[in-house]
């Protein structure tokens, strides 16, 4: 077999799953990384997906998407209650079918499941620093490498978010007179990596137009920064995406309105009010 024959799978989600699995492996190599909730999350997520598809008599969309959501939840959700992981998975998948505006779901499923659980009980939390730092560097390289190599990872939202986030962080470090290692330490966060490549990048839950997507990414970064340094909130990026989700249908709608106006310049002229 020649090198050219080695093709990446056509569905980019396979690649995402491979990446998430390696993420999980790195997590497991760190100490105190729980895995007991993984089967509960996967079963609940896949079950919910199948149930809703049958109940609403929708065409079968496959199970790759709930698998990705399950990985995201496994990696981010921490709890000491047995019933919470399946609840998070159920809420995540159910949100895809129930929270829809004009035929499109607009909240990121894993993000919604996580935030809903954190709102409901104190027994759900995220541990943003649990991966340890050395191995994370490898994952960053891998993530950015995939981005260059495969279109599925080449998300303008990810880049716009990461760019604005780094800029904001760097500005703060400079303002406080801190040194470069502080910035590096702040960026070496497992949840930031996961968020950038697998949460905010989801094309289904970001605005359709490019300009709107970039604006959305900037909004999430700015809100997260404000949450962290003004409100001193925990897990600011995750909450920022949760809070910004309603912007998605709004931006889509405003873009449609703008586009429709552009298409009919003459009509606009004729409609000028006359006495």
């Amino acid at each position: 077999m020649r090198l050219n024959d080695l093709r990446l799978p056509r569905d980019p989600r396979w690649l995402q799953i491979a990446f998430l699995a390696s993420f999980l492996t790195v997590g497991l190599s760190a100490r105190d990384f729980p895995l007991w909730h993984a089967p509960l999350i996967f079963v609940a997520a896949l079950g919910t997906q199948i149930a809703f598809t049958r109940l609403l008599r929708l065409p079968d969309a496959g199970l790759l998407s709930p698998v990705i959501t399950s990985f995201g939840l496994t990696l981010l959700l921490r709890t000491d209650l047995l019933w919470l992981p399946p609840l998070a998975a159920f809420l995540a998948i159910a949100s895809k079918f129930l929270l829809r505006v004009r035929g499109r779901h607009f909240v990121n499923p894993a993000n919604f499941g996580l935030c809903a659980c954190m709102l409901v009980t104190q027994h759900a939390w995220c541990s943003p620093a649990q991966w340890g730092e050395g191995s994370l560097l490898l994952l960053w390289v891998l993530g950015l490498g995939c981005m260059v190599a495969h279109r599925a990872f080449r998300s303008d939202v990810s880049l716009a978010f990461l760019g604005s986030w780094i800029l904001l962080r760097a500005a703060r470090v400079l303002y406080l007179g801190q040194r470069a290692p502080v910035l590096l330490h702040q960026l070496e966060s497992g949840s930031l990596l996961l968020f950038t490549f697998f949460m905010i990048s989801d094309p289904k839950t970001t605005p359709r137009g490019r300009a709107a997507r970039l604006a959305f990414a900037g909004c999430v970064a700015a809100l997260a920064f404000a949450l962290q340094h003004v409100a001193y909130a925990r897990n600011p990026i995750i909450w920022a995406l949760f809070l910004c989700a309603p912007l998605v249908p709004l931006l889509d709608w405003s873009e449609e309105v703008l586009a429709s106006r552009k298409e009919q310049p003459c009509a606009a002229l004729y409609s000028w009010p006359s006495r």
Binding site: A30, R31, D32, R78, T79, D80, T121, Q122, H123, A124, W125, S127, P128, A129, Q130, W131, G132, E133, G134, Y175, L176, G177, Q178, R179, P181, V182, L184, H185, Q186, S189, A231, Y232, R234
Partner: protein
């Protein structure tokens, strides 16, 4: 000029009976100033925080000083001088423990006894107006000045770090050259500085031999400990033990990896005599395994009960003294309450930090985790009585096997060489087995 020592917040090596080091140490080079342990109790619920700071300062009292960034100017009532015993009690209660089990006579099937055994690891000369005017000229404002217990306390705000550094230096605190760099981020975040030094007169009056811990109560949305000041002039890693007392669950760091100390390991019997050495080695190994960047959890448990209890549980008056404000008398643990517990979790975190590996202050979050964890190491004493039955041989084989396992566990935990462990185990050491190739061509 009066020499002073400016220590930042948590200055000291608290590794069990650990090495000395100098925090934001500004004494003379030859000063034999040892801070053996720095311990902090951090009581927090919502934004309300009570911080108790203690260290084993050993040098001349006239040279002691402490600088802590605080979120606001504290009033006199927000400052209290506590009792050293409080932290000693917390230490004894939560320290890693050794438990021992004695095998029953294999020839009779009596219940075996369990003996929990604890082994605590333990861990102004200027006149005031002149001083104020002078400070103002340097961009430093003395917001308040109190004498509390044996301490003279100033609350400073500053507009620029160089001014603050210069002012501290001129006021008799010997500060390292790059101190302003460490001070600057706190000034930019509009934090104030809590500066304490010993008032020798008051100290004599009070009659205490050791410096008592300073307690401060404040409200702040930031759940953090400023450790960066202490690194400005340190020449090696420093140890800090944090006892976090919270209402809902375990506390972990939100900006550094938090790992649990390996626990529940069975170790050879000789460890009983060298538990301190053993734990130091085991901690150092865990610390290194996580690239010297992790916060190590040594204990978390609901304060309503313990199993085994390394020390008697803290009484309600002691908890109150530590600042646990949300417990009323009825819910306090006059006696152990059983697994139902009480709304109070104690988390013991051990941090060994230096400037390179901990570039930022420690940030924390309270999780809802209400499981329990303790650093617990298990000794198994074999049955040494006379055995007269067929089970004897089988039992002795199992003991040998267990000792081999224990030796391997010990090596993995501490990084000690097999040779060293065999030596310490003496006659109990597992029989040496030649590698397979030794007999291959014989």
């Amino acid at each position: 000029m009066r020499r002073a020592l400016l220590l930042a917040f948590a200055l000291t090596a608290a590794a069990p009976r650990a090495h000395a080091f100098c925090g934001f140490f500004v004494g003379k080079a030859d000063a034999q100033l040892f801070n053996k342990s720095s311990q902090v109790a951090l009581v927090r619920d919502g934004d309300r925080t009570v911080l108790t700071m203690s260290n084993d300062y050993q040098g001349p009292l006239s040279e002691f000083a402490l600088v802590v960034p605080v979120p606001s100017v504290l009033t006199r009532e927000q400052i209290h001088i506590g009792d050293r015993k409080l932290l000693e009690r917390l230490d004894a209660y939560s320290s890693p423990r050794l438990v021992e089990y004695t095998d029953p006579d294999p020839c009779s099937l009596r219940e075996h006894a369990v003996f929990p055994m604890s082994m605590p690891m333990a861990a102004g000369s200027m006149r005031s107006r002149e001083m104020t005017d002078h400070a103002k000229a340097m961009g430093v404002t003395i917001e308040a000045a109190y004498t509390v217990g044996e301490y003279d306390i100033l609350l400073l705000s500053a507009t620029q770090s160089e001014g603050l550094e210069a002012w501290l230096r001129e006021s008799g605190y010997r500060i390292p050259a790059h101190a302003s760099r460490a001070l600057a981020p706190y000034i930019k975040q509009d934090m104030k500085f809590f500066v304490a030094k010993v008032n020798l007169k008051e100290q004599k009056k009070a009659g205490f031999q050791e410096l008592r811990p300073i307690q401060i109560a404040y409200e702040s949305p930031r759940f953090m400990l400023p450790i960066r000041l202490g690194m400005a002039n340190a020449d090696g890693p420093q140890d800090l033990i944090i006892y976090a007392l919270t209402r809902n669950g375990r506390v972990e760091s939100s900006n550094y990896q938090t790992v649990k100390m390996p626990s529940d390991a069975e170790v050879p019997e000789f460890v009983q005599k060298e538990f301190g050495e053993f734990y130091k080695a085991a901690f150092a190994r865990t610390w290194k395994q996580h690239a010297q960047r992790a916060v190590v959890t040594e204990y978390f448990w609901n304060m309503g009960w313990c199993d085994p209890c390394a020390a008697p549980p803290l009484q309600s008056a002691e908890l109150r003294e530590l600042g646990v404000f949300w417990l009323d008398a009825a819910s306090a643990p006059a006696r152990l309450r059983g697994p139902a517990g009480m709304p109070l979790t104690l988390t013991r975190l051990h941090v060994r930090y230096d400037a390179e590996h901990f570039p930022e202050d420690l940030m924390f979050q309270e999780t809802g985790d209400q499981q329990n964890f303790q650093g617990r190491y298990v000794l198994n004493h074999p049955f040494r009585g006379e055995m007269k039955c067929d089970a004897r041989e089988q039992y002795l084989t199992s003991v040998r096997e267990r000792r081999r396992r224990e030796a391997t566990t010990l090596a993995a935990l501490t990084g000690w060489s097999a040779e060293k462990i065999r030596q310490r185990m003496g006659p109990d050491a597992p029989a040496h087995v030649d590698p397979w190739w030794k007999t291959l061509w014989k």
